[in-house]
């Protein structure tokens, strides 16, 4: 309570005297006057509860039982103090271990160029990791949304390996990870005019390069910007702006 952790008595030698511990544990009957005096004191301190101390016990117990009934069954696991300390230490060590492994794994993936292209590009600019394969011009421009139809993607295609090609990574959030900016633009109504109907929006992925079965050469823009839906915003103006007419 006082925050004082250094106790001068901790290092002081205990003077010889009555065997207080044995007396407190009932293993030694008081003999000397001091022992008998302390024994009386201890007996008084350990006496059964006085009426004053147990005043209102019935109502208190009833209230606590009611509170106990209202409390959730698993309202916290309580373990002895030593176990709690051990568990807390284990939690800290485990968290540090997980973070270390995650960082090391990410660093290793960045070093081998196995990260998704945007992340790999960021790692290349920050830590000197190898740039994503076939992405030298993109890295030089620094912009993820390169103009479509540039011939820079063509020669880069043969250099891509299955492990490093962005399109070959299944968990990539976009079907076109090399151009991440085009995906949110296709889903947002404000960006819909950038992909006019009938225009092939991705000449940067020639048929010979694409390895995505879901986006064939003739369907490269269908999943994101169907021509018939580019002019159908999700929140049309006017009366259609009330999506729930039942709510008045």
């Amino acid at each position: 309570m006082t925050g004082r952790h250094v106790d001068p008595t901790e290092t002081a030698a205990d003077e010889p005297g009555p065997d207080w511990d044995a007396m407190l544990d009932g293993l030694h009957l008081p003999e000397t006057e001091d022992e008998m005096t302390v024994a009386h004191l201890v007996a008084a301190l350990q006496a059964p509860g006085t009426p004053d101390e147990l005043r209102g016990a019935e109502s208190a117990v009833a209230a606590l039982v009611a509170a106990r009934s209202a409390a959730p069954a698993d309202s916290g696991v309580v373990v002895p103090l030593a176990s709690r300390r051990t568990r807390r230490t284990g939690l800290v060590v485990g968290s540090a271990l997980v973070l270390t492994i995650a960082f090391a794994g990410t660093a290793a993936a960045a070093a081998t160029g196995s990260l998704p292209a945007p992340v790999q590009r960021m790692a290349a600019s920050l830590f000197g990791a190898p740039a994503p394969a076939g992405d030298t011009q993109v890295q030089s421009t620094g912009g993820p949304a390169r103009p479509s139809g540039q011939p820079s993607d063509g020669p880069a295609a043969p250099q891509t390996t299955p492990g490093s090609q962005p399109g070959a990574t299944p968990p990539a959030p976009s079907p076109h990870p090399s151009t991440p900016a085009s995906v949110p633009s296709a889903t947002s109504p404000g960006a819909a005019p950038s992909t006019p109907p009938g225009q092939s929006v991705r000449p940067s992925t020639p048929p010979g390069q694409t390895k995505r079965p879901t986006t064939g050469p003739g369907q490269s823009n269908r999943p994101t910007t169907p021509p018939g839906q580019t002019n159908r915003p999700t929140s049309p103006p006017g009366p259609a702006g009330k999506p729930h007419p039942t709510h008045s």
Partner: protein, 187 residues
């Protein structure tokens, strides 16, 4: 101490069995209140109530024997008292210096010897000890904790609390002996 029946009593209290809870309360509340009153008389009742409330909420998760349970209860009580004193007092004097005075300590010291069987007078004598000695003696004698548990509750080493208890008891014996030798006082 409840003893061999502790597991059954605790299980019953955990289920919400009122008689079991009452037995737990009657066994623990008096020493708990004595411990808290010796440290801060004014905050003792509220701190004890908050202790029981937290105990009630967390009862189902407790795993351990009766000594561990008592150490857990006194740890909660100590923390509740600290919180209450910090919240209520907001003044320079610490909780230990502001232990309040219910009356017995201000009475004639001769009564402390003549009526030593009085729990309140015994408590008043302990409260006159230095605060660390008083708390160590209370946890060891009133709480019934062993030195290791007292050390955990107080955040000290086992050796330190053992020295504190010994010195406290020796000091009590000395003071009581001096008072008994005073003229007109019969031990």
């Amino acid at each position: 101490m409840i003893g061999d029946r502790f597991d059954d009593v605790l299980a019953g209290a955990t289920r919400g069995d009122e008689p079991a809870f009452a037995e737990l309360y009657r066994d623990l509340h008096p020493p708990l209140l004595r411990y808290l009153r010796a440290l801060s008389w004014e905050q003792a009742e509220d701190a004890a109530s908050e202790t029981w409330l937290e105990l009630t909420r967390s009862l189902s998760g407790f795993v351990g024997a009766e000594p561990s349970f008592r150490a857990w209860v006194f740890t909660i009580a100590r923390r509740k008292l600290i919180d209450r004193v910090r919240y209520e007092a907001r003044r320079p004097s610490s909780a230990w210096d502001d232990r309040g005075d219910p009356g017995p300590a201000t009475r004639d010291v001769a009564d402390d010897v003549v009526e030593l069987d009085s729990t309140y007078r015994a408590l008043a004598l302990v409260r006159a000890l230095p605060r660390d000695q008083a708390e160590a003696v209370l946890l060891r004698v009133v709480g019934g904790l062993d030195y290791a548990d007292v050390a955990q509750v107080m955040g000290r080493t086992t050796g330190a609390v053992r020295v504190l208890v010994h010195r406290g008891l020796r000091r009590l014996a000395s003071e009581l002996g001096d008072r008994a030798e005073a003229p007109g006082v019969t031990p």
